[in-house]
Subunit: 258 residues, 2 copies
DNA sequence: GAACAGGTTCCACATAATGAAACCTTTCGT
DNA sequence: ACGAAAGGTTTCATTATGTGGAACCTGTTC
């Protein structure tokens, strides 16, 4: 896995088209896609044909394309077997409704944070909206919670994968600065995001450890500085830790591969 | 969309590999895949590399592959925008717990039934297990419920897409036989699966209609002949119809493209 | 009834995929 | 410690695949 990323190739292009369709967020016509994608008519047409015959897209008789059944199946294989989400769902829900704020559930995926569940207590329909999103580990609450409890070797590897781009003034700009923060996290069992990834967004996060003490994920309560001060997040600490522990227990039989 | 299906092409092959990974239901090693897939070592290797760099697979440092972040993202775009599931979730849950039996939520996808939610009242972990599965429309409760309320033109088209393969003695073997059944469904607003798809499995289904009277999906209570007789399914009728109506109302703003 | 927009098909050509074989690297048996 | 085997990665000449400009449908508009 050390050759440089290959963005090209037929498969890559086809997937780009899939992304385009997904981006629309609704069934979409050929001509609409044509504008958004960089491919000439004939090429795009062939891609759509291929993807349709592969059931990655479905072609409706009103002439629109939308993500197809195969994608659904693959997706749920992923969801069911490689993510904490189904195991943690009830706990996450409970926490969200008690906290009245967004709850995020995340796992580590090649040095990045992968959100596997996001829940807004207030809005049922927003559920799952941004599941699958990724974010850097070094500047998010969940990310730091996980990094702090990684085995030394793994941490070393993960650190190499961080860019240390400064999103805000509060973002850690180097491994050294991050490591100091992680020491605190390790002591308290709690990680804070102090507007490190996005202005105005703060969070309090706890790692999810299985019975062997291995990190399998992290969970956080996130809110905005307009509603809470950083210090006030302490109010969620006990509930968060308790929830994380419960999830850890439920997830023990199951090993996340990272 | 009239050229014959092209199962070949690079994209098709790559997706086959994805399916292989999904089939394992867990992170999988190179060598395991090698046995299951028809490709030589070098070819499979390249596919895995491509899919990994495209984030369709993730490569973990214990040397295993698993479905990746991009798939997750695509999946949830599909789930959120093209399926009744998130809209219907609460109603489905409520029905499942009242009925104490499996509840299936389905939509029509190119003449086939696509399950977008399945819920067992008894087992939280089985939730979502077979979402994305497809089944024939002509021999399932949900399928017949949807067919019966399709506009004549659409029904005609859908009938052409049915194979009328006889899964059991009870399966409809021809369009004629099916159409007679659909007349009944139209009259009563309820469809039964009388062990037509699988021995021992029966169900009672109702279509979900939006305010324009257009079919957007169907919902069913399914059980086995060891627990219920066909006639006893009547007990679920009222609750089923009521639930279907509620979902229809919630889904009215939203049009399923089929 | 001519011009147009949205799709679909053709085909000479360029590119990307193929897979046998050689090559690493780690693990295992003695 | 040594040889062999399993598991994984790279090379490269060959060939199958994908490419896209242009022509072509078909239904709609002015």
């Amino acid at each position: 896995m050390n050759t440089q990323a290959r963005g090209d190739g037929t498969v890559g292009k086809a997937l780009e088209v899939l992304d385009c369709v997904a981006e629309f967020g609704r069934p979409v016509r050929f001509s609409e896609l044509l504008e958004l994608s960089p491919y000439p008519k004939a090429t795009l047409y062939r891609f759509l044909q291929t993807l349709t015959s592969q059931k990655m897209l479905s072609y409706n008789d009103d002439g629109t394309y939308w993500l197809g059944a195969r994608l659904m199946r693959l997706a749920h294989a992923a969801w069911k077997n490689a993510s904490l989400a189904p195991i943690a769902r009830t706990h996450v829900e409970a926490l969200a409704s008690r906290a009245g704020e967004s709850v995020h559930l995340a796992q580590l995926d090649n040095g990045q944070v992968l959100f596997v569940d996001k829940l807004k207590a207030t809005d049922r329909f927003e559920t799952l909206a941004q599941v699958g999103q990724v974010a850097p580990a070094y500047c998010t609450g969940v990310g730091k919670a996980m990094l702090a409890f990684l085995a030394p070797k793994r941490l070393e590897l993960a650190l190499k994968q961080q860019s240390f781009f400064k999103y805000t003034e509060a973002t850690h700009g180097s491994a050294r600065s991050l490591l100091r923060d992680l020491d605190d996290v390790r002591k308290t069992g709690i990680a804070f995001d102090r507007q490190e990834h996005e202005h105005g967004i703060i969070s309090i996060a706890a790692p999810i450890l299985n019975d062997n003490g291995r990190v399998t994920g992290a969970i956080s309560v996130a809110t905005s500085t307009t509603r809470y001060q950083l210090e006030e997040l302490e109010a969620f600490r006990a509930d968060l830790l308790e929830t994380a522990e419960k999830i850890g227990k439920d997830a023990t039989h199951w090993q996340f591969p990272a």
